[in-house]
Symmetry: C2
Subunit: 269 residues, 2 copies
């Protein structure tokens, strides 16, 4: 998907919501456990219910890998079921030496057909570049994550006094462009968005951490939005597990619509 | 596997070699392509041929994921085929927020039964801890990797003038112990091993980058060994692709034996 297509979809839906499919057998409604593939059945109903209110889906690979081969099957089936209109993200946090990153890139962009994959920056340039060689595919590079542990290394000052995540933002601009590179910036750091936008004014940001993790949509939009919107705000648990009964999909739809309505008010008229 | 068991195995085999199963359909001998599962068939023959000369096997998950569901099957079958005596490593470079890292830990330690998994440190403490809660299982944390990109962030000085990888080594000692935590230190940085050992004298180090990547075994042993050996030196391509004919396994065995013989001379008498 191109940046223009993504922006147009955001304008059309009046939404920059990404729904995170962190699908966990221990958390889905019990009545689904009788299905041959409960994970896929849950995802299918969630997708049907929420697609009108979001522009992207993020599949967290950990939740599928934990089920082994069957989980991998559910991941592939879910990806195939996603509407073509929606931006699809493999939240895989991969990254390795060049020849290995190339294999991961093939896994997510060729064997499967995701639009984007999240990548960890710790191993540097040659661990990221192999993901950037695919037309209309995207790297979403971890910069400042939403968790407590982001303070351990990402926030600590380098020799020049600036935090590591800022160095990641700067370096990565030599590797990719706003057309194929986004950054993860956690919603739990709203005070950092001005600083982030000073370094990367044009790139899209994938923002996890609203909902369960407590981030504030209004603040993020005020400080993080650019003239192409430039934000994909992810919510996983607060939407997909909003209900746990037979009507879970309707409840998820209502939760997604609530976020979409708030987003419509935050987008420029 | 415990640290004592690993050390005993090293003494018994007179080897601290880890064979890396970076198995690639494009590189295995063509006569194997007719088998129902060529990847597994290659691994099976390599394992049979090299098990007497090594103490560990490292499966690089990228090479399996790139084949989709079938690759995941080959990964599971290969793990099941590994001898119980050998230390098994999922070279997966995972790491995410706490609830997600927990899912990855379950994937590699419960759904599958690896002894160890490689973990990326960028997301900090709560991304690593969930992997450390399993008895006799190990985290192998990336510190200083073997690739060129290690210079981008790992080697750059922090506010105190010390490189980031040293901060990772220091912080991580609050999270795990020499009984459940190793570090990746690339063989391409032999000059750094004294510095590493000054910070982590007791931990095992997983050392990739000999063979194809050019690391020097003698230097690494001189500067990296401790009184429990403390090293697992990985070689992937230089062993498994040493031959490409029908006798590839014999050639791999000879290559592994050559490394083992050199290692025997480097271990204390």
């Amino acid at each position: 998907m191109t940046r223009l297509q993504l922006h147009n979809h955001i304008l059309q839906k009046q939404s920059f919501l990404c729904v995170g499919l962190d699908t966990d057998l221990a958390k889905i409604p019990p009545h689904l456990l009788g299905y041959p593939d409960p994970i896929f059945e849950f995802n299918r109903q969630i997708i049907d219910a929420t697609r009108d209110f979001c522009v992207a889906y993020k599949l967290n690979t950990a939740f599928y890998e934990t089920l082994g081969k069957k989980g991998w099957e559910a991941l592939e089936k879910t990806l195939d079921y996603l509407p073509d209109t929606h931006f699809s993200i493999a939240d895989a946090k991969r990254g390795d030496i060049g020849n290995t990153s190339k294999m991961y890139a093939k896994a997510f962009f060729e064997t499967m057909d995701f639009d984007a994959v999240t990548v960890a920056p710790y191993m540097g340039e040659d661990s990221v570049l192999p993901f950037l060689g695919f037309e209309n595919k995207w790297v979403i590079l971890l910069a400042l994550t939403s968790n407590k542990g982001s303070a351990d290394f990402q926030m600590t000052p380098q020799e020049d006094g600036r935090p590591l995540f800022e160095k990641v933002l700067r370096k990565a601009q030599d590797w990719g462009a706003p057309e194929n590179l986004m950054f993860v910036i956690g919603a739990t750091h709203p005070e950092q968005f001005d600083q982030v936008r000073a370094v990367v004014p044009d790139h899209f940001l994938l923002v996890p951490g609203v909902g369960e993790q407590g981030g504030d949509l209004k603040k993020i939009s005020k400080h993080g939005m650019n003239d192409q919107c430039g934000l994909l705000v992810n919510s996983s648990r607060a939407i997909i597990y909003a209900g746990n009964g037979e009507n879970f999909a309707e409840v998820a739809a209502a939760s997604a619509k609530l976020v979409q309505t708030e987003m419509a008010g935050l987008l420029p008229r």
